[in-house]
């Protein structure tokens, strides 16, 4: 493994992990709202969040490119006011991975929240707990397993993201190149040895993520 290859591996793992954490607050809030509240437009939000799951990733990437490019609605604002560029930087990678893995977290967390007996939350209220305390002491701990499962799924999805990333962040060696992008590029260039080494790393990372989640599920299932 060369230094450049290690850089790609670290960068990919790091941005994927960061995206899994970055989507946590909004993802949990959305999941909780979908599980516990009824409001007009609920189904619209539900569909919007799940859209990246069914749209071709490249199409999602194109939408993000339009929104976050320097002339886009959001990208323009960020560039002009905050001097922040998203497209073709590591932030673009983070954005693409977050949007693409969000639905997996929201779906898992929503199911996990729905499985928490609302009765327990009600009784906590009769014992004097406010909304925040109910959430942190009852809802969250009881849904933790599903949420962690969702985070691991999201992380695994982020590790392998290709279509949206290449649209939003390009494939700039040393800056936005991720494992999937590098493997594709190396195969295109006929550099198979290079591609296979990165492939091995991908398999190892994916294996650790899935194996870790299985292990976690098994140990928490043993607890009653």
């Amino acid at each position: 493994m060369t230094a450049a290859e290690w850089q790609i591996v670290w960068f990919t793992a790091w941005v994927a992990a960061l995206s899994s954490l970055a989507i946590l607050p909004a993802g949990l809030a959305a999941a909780w709202l979908l599980a516990r509240r009824d409001w007009p437009g609920k189904s619209v939000l539900e569909t919007l969040i799940s859209l990246p799951l069914v749209l071709p990733p490249v199409a999602t990437g194109l939408i993000l490119l339009q929104l976050f490019g320097r002339r886009g609605a959001i990208g323009g604002f960020l560039h002009d006011r905050l001097d922040l560029d998203v497209v073709f930087t590591w932030r673009g990678v983070l954005l693409a991975l977050s949007v693409m893995s969000m639905p997996l977290l929201v779906r898992s967390a929503r199911v996990a929240f729905e499985e928490v007996d609302p009765r327990l939350e009600q009784i906590a209220r009769t014992l004097g707990a406010g909304n925040l305390r109910v959430f942190y002491t009852i809802t969250l701990p009881l849904a933790a397993r599903g949420i962690i499962g969702g985070m691991i799924l999201a992380f695994a999805r982020a590790l392998g993201e290709f279509g949206a990333t290449i649209m939003v962040a390009g494939n700039i060696p040393g800056r936005t190149s991720t494992l999937s992008l590098a493997i594709y590029q190396n195969v295109q260039l006929g550099d198979d040895a290079h591609a296979f080494r990165l492939l091995g790393v991908s398999v190892a990372l994916a294996f650790i993520a899935v194996w870790g989640s299985e292990l976690l599920l098994r140990t928490s299932r043993q607890k009653p």
Partner: protein
């Protein structure tokens, strides 16, 4: 304490919960068949359901007043609620469950001391266990203690004994009486079991199809049901207060006024003296033309007071030292030619006289 429920209206699927009631009991039993809206009433009082309209006042505190937009949040109501499924927090230990409701101020602010409640409900040995390892009776006591430790002004119990066997019931019932007496805590007690209601409550609310069919003292409701629905719910026509004068070999001798009855005294808590004596009308046999030997333990000389038709049956009210109601078929009544004023003998077997401990 008084709990005021005025113009309560809550839509419940196929019918509405609609009631107006003023409760003053120390333990008020909410009695009714399943699906009558008993649990919904609890949830309404606890603030877990929003009514279409209601005015609910506990003591001098208005909890809900839809007319003026008052709807106190559940957590500020100070109402302890032990639901039928108990809802213990599975991720927490028994101790953590008990501590959950404690106010931030600590021991001094709590109306009821932690140690006292743990002692009263015999929870000490369970404190370090997880709640999923507990038996039904243990869970019941922990849920009760958890509600008490939040220092409620009113305790709502939803069928607290329904999941327990007879032996455990006999242990929990005295606990409830102790809670009532020691903490001066009013209790609203939901049950569909008439005997349970009679043994614990001093006031009763009968709920049928979302409406209050009757309120009153336990004995009033039992012995003078306001209408056929209530009567059908109890199907115990005769309820009298009595005193156990002797208990030997599981047979109790009970004095009702000056009449002595023999009943089965098994399953009564030790040292029970004051009881309700319950006799179903169809369990009584009438003899006319003098007494004769029989296996029934109770032979009561009686005078027929009134005879009235009730569907295929005839209801005969007799006086045997206390009013006793007897149900006969019309054919039997015609053959015996029973008329008011007749001297008869009423036979009742000992196991058919139900004794229920009476709150002192």
């Amino acid at each position: 304490m008084s709990l005021l429920l005025r113009h309560v209206r809550l839509a419940l699927g196929t019918f509405n919960l609609e009631l107006d009631a003023e409760l003053h009991g120390r333990i008020t039993a909410v009695l009714g068949p399943s699906g009558a809206g008993k649990t919904s009433l609890m949830e309404l009082v606890a603030g877990l359901r929003r009514p279409q309209s209601a005015f609910i006042q506990l003591g001098d505190r208005v909890l809900t007043d839809t007319a003026r937009g008052v709807d106190l949040a559940t957590r500020h109501r100070g109402i302890g609620y032990v639901p039928q499924d108990l809802a213990l927090f599975p991720q927490l230990s028994v101790r953590q469950n008990l501590r959950y409701g404690r106010r931030a101020g600590g021991e001094a602010d709590s109306l009821f001391g932690f140690e006292r409640i743990v002692e009263l409900l015999e929870i000490q040995p369970l404190l370090h266990r997880g709640v999923t390892e507990l038996s039904g009776g243990e869970k019941q006591r922990v849920a009760l203690a958890r509600a008490l430790l939040a220092s409620p002004r009113l305790l709502l119990l939803d069928e607290p004994l329904s999941s327990l066997d007879a032996k455990l019931r006999a242990r929990i019932l005295p606990c409830l009486a102790r809670i009532r007496d020691e903490f001066q805590l009013p209790i609203l007690y939901v049950t569909h079991d008439r005997f349970e209601a009679l043994s614990i409550a001093d006031e009763m609310v009968v709920l049928i199809d979302g409406r209050v069919a009757q309120t009153g003292t336990a004995q009033e409701v039992f012995s003078r049901p306001a209408n056929l629905d209530v009567a059908g719910l109890f199907t115990v026509e005769t309820v009298q207060t009595g005193r156990i004068v002797n208990l030997a070999d599981d047979l109790a001798t009970v004095a009702v006024g000056s009449t002595l009855l023999t009943a089965v005294g098994r399953n009564l808590p030790a040292n029970t003296r004051e009881v309700y004596v319950c006799i179903r009308a169809e369990d009584v046999i009438l003899l006319k033309g003098g007494d004769s030997p029989s296996s029934a333990r109770n032979h009561l000389a009686a005078t027929v007071k009134s005879v009235s038709r009730e569907g295929p049956f005839v209801r005969v009210d007799v006086d045997c030292g206390f009013p006793l109601t007897v149900l006969l078929t019309r054919r039997a009544r015609e053959e015996m030619a029973i008329e008011p004023g007749d001297r008869v003998v009423a036979l009742v077997k000992a196991p058919q006289i139900h004794l229920i401990p009476r709150p002192a």
